[in-house]
């Protein structure tokens, strides 16, 4: 298998006149190279993913054992955070902080930077045959804003009063009325993060439009690039209203305006000294206008990764490429007009509720089309069950469960019962945790050899996979039952206050069985934590000690990123590659090899 016969030759340094040997700082810290920036995003995002995961573990402890000191880290909590963590117990306020920050960190500091900032930045220019992003310095700035936003969010834990407590949704009047500065830090952090995303989005879109290599037509783009392209549009157009809303809420907190504070608001029994006249619902509209497209930002890059890995490991083209492209464009478009399905319980009229239910039902169609195309792509394939493929194959049913369980939430009648319960938590975690995160794991195992020249250990990869899959399901499956039994979200005592144990004849009280599930979930969460250890060790160990990949294209892939040296040098390609064919020419009848790279002429 002559994997390197059409590999792009290494560009000679003297040909690119401006590139003298860069120092440490400009090469690794202040780099404008999209690959370095991608890796920077990746490492920072993985650190935040780990941090958000730790917050979750402490929350699950508190839910299962309310009022008991957190084992192992209780003392550390108290010494770091002070009275809010007195005696190492997760107090109610601390629980609320953990909850708000777990959500914020996972969505804005971990998943999006990993899926879009890391994978997108590293792979999109390579896959389209470009030397870099269209605006490399803007790219560096977007990473810097991200770090700044992350630092602000992280440090908010250590200020008097602690971090934000009003949920990742930061609903006023509560968010404004809480007297501490945590919420202000959250708003400032969000403004920085949104700026980072906007800069990134402009870069991605301009790059895909302008820097595709000769012969790389729109319909020859790898599906991963299409997914990232639509994601960038969602970020570009949906984030600004939240930035505006963030500024407005900041003004409510700092300048005592009343954008979101109604007339007659009383805080702590006293009439608030504000002008009034504002609308709490206005915040919800502006927030969810972003936050709904945001969930597609969370899933689309994952779908892109899944598509690439399926095509590669079934050794056949993706089924329904055109359908996939049109589906993802439609999905992006529709995602802007469904947001109020998060607001069914705010007293919406029937007509407007019907409008949003209709658009919500319609948007499930392109999602199903994408999932169906991927399932059908498996049919008749010569499947290689390596670690990336296992994660990707698990993604399909897991995302299926997550997506289907969203349907009762999309209908306002059933949402009345399920809104703000554990059912919702289970629904979206199924999509993001064994959904997106599995795809991101797959992507790490898959593209690791391109960045490092070494393979990650296959055995420990499979251990990581099976353990994660089992424990993820053990954590989130019970939550559907709890939610349907009426257990509400964001309760620091895990619902003990509403239990039939406490109030025996309570109508709709939570049974001991429902509360007992908390203990099993906690053990499953600990199991999931342990399951990540082989991954973390494997990742770091394999950088220098993994089995050498053996070639620039160890997976025998068709897309352009595999046709470069390993790791790709600055400027990626000596001169623009020419693209002659589509992205998934696997097992073409009559061809000597079972794959034909995009840049191979006939």
């Amino acid at each position: 298998m002559q994997a390197s016969s059409h590999a792009i030759p290494h560009p000679h340094l003297h040909e690119s006149a401006h590139h003298e040997e860069a120092g440490f700082w400009s090469k690794y810290i202040f780099s404008t190279d999209h690959k370095v920036i991608g890796i920077q995003y990746g490492f920072t995002a993985l650190c935040f993913l780990f941090f958000g995961f730790c917050l979750m573990l402490m929350m699950r402890w508190q839910i299962a054992h309310p009022g008991q000191p957190v084992p192992v880290v209780g003392g550390l909590l108290e010494s770091l955070l002070g009275p809010i963590a007195a005696k190492g117990i997760v107090s109610n306020d601390l629980y609320n902080s953990f909850g708000a920050m777990h959500g914020t960190i996972m969505v804005f500091l971990a998943i999006v930077p990993l899926a879009f900032g890391a994978f997108g930045n590293y792979l999109v220019p390579l896959q389209i045959g470009a030397p870099d992003m269209a605006f490399p310095r803007v790219n560096m700035a977007s990473y810097q804003f991200y770090v700044l936003g992350g630092v602000v969010m992280f440090f908010s834990f250590f200020i008097p009063g602690g971090a934000a407590q009003a949920g990742w949704t930061s609903y006023p009047p509560l968010a404004v009325a809480i007297p501490t500065a945590g919420q202000t830090f959250w708003l400032a952090g969000m403004v920085l993060l949104i700026t980072s995303s906007l800069l990134g989005a402009v870069n991605f879109i301009a790059t895909v439009i302008q820097l595709r290599a000769p012969g790389m037509t729109w319909m020859r783009l790898p599906f991963f690039v299409w997914a990232q392209f639509v994601t960038a549009f969602l970020l570009l157009l949906a984030f600004p209203p939240l930035e505006a809303a963030g500024v407005l809420q900041l003004m409510d907190k700092v300048a005592h305006t009343s954008f979101f504070l109604p007339t007659g608001l009383a805080v702590g029994g006293n009439l608030a000294n504000i002008s009034g006249g504002g609308s709490p619902l206005l915040w919800q509209h502006l927030f969810w206008f972003l936050a709904h497209p945001e969930v597609y930002v969370l899933i689309l890059p994952a779908m892109g990764i899944v598509a690439e890995i399926i095509a590669n490991n079934t050794r056949k083209p993706l089924w329904g490429y055109k359908s996939l492209v049109y589906a993802v464009l439609t999905l992006g478009f529709l995602s802007f007009i469904v947001w109020a399905h998060h607001m069914y319980l705010t007293g919406m009229g029937i007509t407007i509720a019907t409008f949003f239910q209709t658009t919500t039902m319609i948007i499930s169609i392109p999602s199903v089309i994408v999932l169906t195309c991927m399932f059908i792509s498996l049919w008749g394939g010569s499947i290689r069950f390596n670690t990336p493929m296992l994660f990707v194959m698990a993604f399909l049913p897991m995302f299926g469960i997550g997506g289907l369980t969203g349907l009762p939430l999309g209908f306002s009648y059933s949402d009345i019962h399920l809104h703000d319960t554990y059912y919702v938590i289970a629904h979206f975690h199924y999509i993001v945790a064994p959904g997106t995160i599995f795809a991101l794991f797959a992507g790490i195992y898959f593209w690791f050899p391109k960045a490092t020249g070494r393979m990650m250990n296959e055995f420990w990869g499979q251990v990581h996979f099976w353990a994660s899959l089992i424990f993820m399901n053990l954590i989130f499956q019970p939550m559907f039952a709890q939610g349907m039994a009426g257990m509400l979200r964001r309760m620091a005592d895990g619902g003990a206050n509403y239990s039939t144990a406490r109030v025996p004849d309570a109508i709709g009280g939570l049974s001991p069985h429902m509360l007992q599930l908390h203990t099993y979930i906690l053990w499953a969460a600990v199991g999931l934590a342990l399951a990540q250890i082989p991954f973390i060790l494997n990742f770091f160990w394999s950088i220098n000690n993994g089995k050498p990949a053996g070639s620039d294209n160890p997976w025998h892939s068709t897309t352009l990123e595999w046709q470069t040296p390993t790791p790709p040098p600055h400027g990626n390609f000596a001169k623009a590659p020419h693209v002659y064919r589509g992205p998934y020419e696997y097992s073409v009848p009559g061809h000597p090899t079972d794959f034909t790279p995009q840049n191979q002429p006939d």
Binding site: P11, N203, Q210, V247, G277, L282, F289, G571, F573
Partner: protein
């Protein structure tokens, strides 16, 4: 491999990279200001009858500011056209005008803001309301130049009333003051959205002026090395500037006239 189409247009799209970039950025700005305009509409529609202010902003001053910005728009496009016609001197002249006009705009805006911050609404213990501009403050009294009103509602629609009330100096002992508040963003949702919209707009004016100022000054050295690339930068910064003017074209009637 160098990044292509930084100056010359890509054949199939007919655009150079920065032009795509700036239009994408402007699209996001449309959404940003759009959200704020939506906020304005919602707050206004939600206000109780008779309590949405009219005539609180000085229309002649606002009109002058509008003309200033429109003029800066024409000088911006003339600056770019001068470069396209290879007239560097005229470019320098026109963008010098643009920068002066930008400074004028911000100056007038600051005057307007200041006027609001020294305008007080004072509720007395006996329920009367005094409204006017601050003359002086001492330890025991506050002196404003204004008038008394019986019903707070009278303060809101100043355009319909037409008649101007005479301003006389009113001295109010501090002991009689129940609440004293100036016309800042905390005063009412109208002023809140006014300060936010015009404040964000002014930040964009300042930002744009800084970029144009840089390109006029130190950045102009690119003209000698790569005139086409420099002209493109003037075009891009010009597009941003026109957008800033465009936002004001809507802000002025919405906030000042309606």
């Amino acid at each position: 491999m160098e990044i292509p189409y930084t100056v010359e247009a890509r054949p199939d799209t007919g655009l150079y990279n920065a032009k795509v970039g700036i239009w994408l950025f402007l699209a996001s700005e449309v959404m940003l200001f759009g959200a704020l305009f939506s906020t304005y509409i919602l707050l206004r529609v939600g206000a109780p009858e008779g309590f949405w202010p009219h005539g609180w902003l000085n229309i002649p001053v606002g009109t002058v500011n509008t003309l200033v910005l429109i003029t800066s728009s024409i000088t911006t496009v003339m600056a770019w056209a001068s470069l396209k016609m290879n007239q560097f001197g005229r470019f320098k002249f026109f963008h010098a005008c643009t920068l002066c006009l930008a400074l004028t705009f911000v100056g007038i805006k600051s005057y307007e803001y200041h006027d609001k911050f020294i305008h007080y609404e004072i509720t007395l213990n006996d329920g009367k309301i005094a409204d006017g501009h601050l003359v002086k403050k001492t330890a025991d009294e506050v002196v404003i130049s204004g008038h008394y009103v019986e019903d707070r509602k009278e303060l809101f629609d100043l355009r319909a009333s037409g008649a101007t009330h005479e301003h006389k100096e009113i001295a109010i002992p501090r002991s009689q003051i129940k609440k004293m508040e100036n016309y800042g963003p905390w005063h009412s949702t109208y002023l809140a959205i006014y300060f936010t919209l015009t404040g964000l707009h002014a930040l964009h004016v300042i930002g744009g002026a800084i970029v144009i100022g840089f390109l006029w000054g130190p950045g102009a050295s690119l003209w000698k090395r790569d005139p086409e690339r420099f002209t493109n930068r003037i075009e891009i910064s010009g597009l941003f500037w026109h957008f800033v003017d465009l936002v004001w074209i809507f802000l002025f009637p919405v906030l000042y006239l309606l």
